[in-house]
């Protein structure tokens, strides 16, 4: 009873808000065919990047609103794919993390594939409050550790979230940095420290 009321109450405002429509299958198929026909490899950006993996397909087909059951199962798969450091150490040096967070380098056709990839963090998040040039695609991470503590569980959460954001929100806008091979365990550890170390400016 309460449930139906709740659902009805939730549905009402939804009806008045224009939701992003899920993909239109016929035009989506045409779009994919055109993408395959009309792109060329350049630098490190090879044509295989145009192919969707399972998560991308589900998100693309549902306008980033997958059915809950499917999302849950796929999120579990993504979480199972996270590889933690063998020594169990999840916190590195926040100063190194800050450097990584600043860098947006990597993976474009103009990037040297031999150079290390940046974390791209400030592109989308507020982190150290001294850095004013932060994006707003993702939430502010200022005081991340101050609000949550740095328990082993929280370290594991932060590590896995950076490694594979889709483990917690299947169609998150955030890249899967570990899964994609962009950041290695050393680098992710530094970013965990930036978020959770009490000495990090994030938590001052």
């Amino acid at each position: 009873m309460t449930k139906t009321l709740l659902l009805a109450a939730m549905a009402a405002p939804l009806l008045t808000v224009a939701l992003p429509a899920a993909a239109d299958p016929a035009h989506r198929a045409q779009a994919i065919a055109i993408l395959k026909k009309d792109f060329q490899p350049r630098g490190q950006a090879s044509l295989d990047r145009l192919a969707e993996d399972g998560v991308q397909t589900v998100c693309n087909r549902t306008g980033n609103k997958p059915p809950e059951q499917i999302a849950k199962r796929l999120e579990e798969d993504q979480l199972a794919d996270v590889k933690y450091p063998a020594d169990g150490k999840l916190m590195g040096d926040w100063k190194e993390g800050e450097k990584l967070a600043q860098s947006g380098r990597g993976f474009t056709w103009t990037d040297d594939p031999g150079l290390p990839v940046g974390g791209n963090c400030y592109n989308c998040h507020q982190i150290d409050p001294k850095e004013a040039a932060f994006g707003t695609v993702g939430p502010s991470l200022y005081r991340f550790g101050k609000l949550r503590g740095n328990t082993p569980e929280m370290q594991k959460y932060a590590y896995s979230k950076i490694y594979n954001a889709k483990a917690y929100n299947l169609c998150s806008e955030m890249p899967r940095f570990g899964h994609a091979g962009a950041l290695g365990e050393k680098q992710i550890r530094h970013l965990v420290a930036l978020l959770l170390d009490p000495d990090s400016p994030v938590n001052k």
Binding site: H27, D38, R49, E52, N60, W109, E131, G135, P175
Partner: protein, 289 residues
């Protein structure tokens, strides 16, 4: 004189740390955030300076130099067939007519059986009417510090003849509507190492990357922001760049491979974006940071 002004501005902006626009809205408010607000104000000053400079420059817009070159090239008999575009190229308003043509593209051209944006159409004319080789044009389609291709001048010339006109992509044409629908799907298509689509950055309101505001191209206002100022004279490097170039640079940052020059994919995406800006006024070739 103009050059030195541009140089001075570039140096200033570099010193400021970013060319990106400052946000219209202040940083999200939270306690103990004095530092970022101060820094944001410093960037705002740089932005204001740029806006002032741009307003002054629009009186003597550097794009006009490219328009003049483009006009000469439009009217001159060129290519293996020794024909001018003015006497052979139909941009949808009749052979040789450039007035209002830019804001009415992309459109469907029966002779090419394709929906074409302005740049793609002019390339088609250069190939079909003047006898230039497509591969030669596509080999160096965009400007760099040392080189501006003819096609960039021509596009800028044509765009200049739609200055202060209303954008009117013919979306009631079923072929154009279909291109719009496909373009919409291309904009939504997530793939690549970072799972990005166009919409990751340009699908919702009031977002920014670093300090750069991100227009939401699904809305009329955001789509207009994506159209306005292209082709544009870019302060960074001092080069004239087209809307086709801008689409390619988005795909680069999306970590996608490169769209082929003057292809269906780019025309469809442009149809989606420019079509969404229909009814609003295009101000002509502009200045970009």
């Amino acid at each position: 004189m103009k050059r030195s002004l541009i140089g001075a501005l570039c140096v200033m902006a570099v010193a400021g740390g970013t060319f990106a626009q400052a946000p219209k809205k202040p940083a999200p408010k939270a306690p103990a955030q004095v530092a970022p607000v101060e820094a944001a104000e410093a960037k705002d000053a740089a932005t204001l300076e740029f806006e002032k400079f741009r307003a002054e420059m629009e009186e003597s817009n550097p794009a006009e130099l490219f328009e003049m070159k483009g006009e000469e090239q439009w009217k001159t008999r060129r290519g293996p067939k020794n024909v001018s575009l003015a006497e052979s190229c139909d941009l949808g308003q009749g052979v040789g007519k450039v007035e209002g043509a830019y804001v009415r593209m992309p459109r469907y051209f029966a002779d090419a059986d394709a929906v074409m944006d302005a740049e793609r159409r002019i390339v088609w004319c250069m190939v079909e009417k003047q006898g230039f080789k497509f591969a030669d044009i596509a080999a160096r389609p965009f400007a760099n510090e040392n080189f501006t291709p003819d096609i960039t001048n021509l596009v800028t010339y044509v765009a200049g003849h739609s200055r202060n006109m209303k954008i009117a992509v013919p979306l009631d044409d079923p072929k154009v509507r279909e291109a719009w629908e496909i373009g919409k799907e291309i904009a939504a298509y997530r793939a690549g190492p970072y799972d990005f689509s166009c919409n990751t950055c340009h699908g919702s309101d009031n977002k920014r990357i670093r300090m750069q505001n991100l227009p939401n191209i699904s809305t009329p206002r955001g789509a207009l922001m994506g159209v306005q100022g292209w082709p544009g004279y870019r302060m960074t490097g001092g080069v004239m760049l087209t809307h086709q170039w801008r689409m390619g640079d988005c795909f680069r940052q999306q970590r996608f491979p490169q769209p082929k020059y003057a292809s269906d994919a780019v025309a469809d995406l442009l149809t989606y974006m420019i079509g969404n800006a229909n009814g609003q006024v295009y101000k002509g070739p502009g200045i970009k940071r």
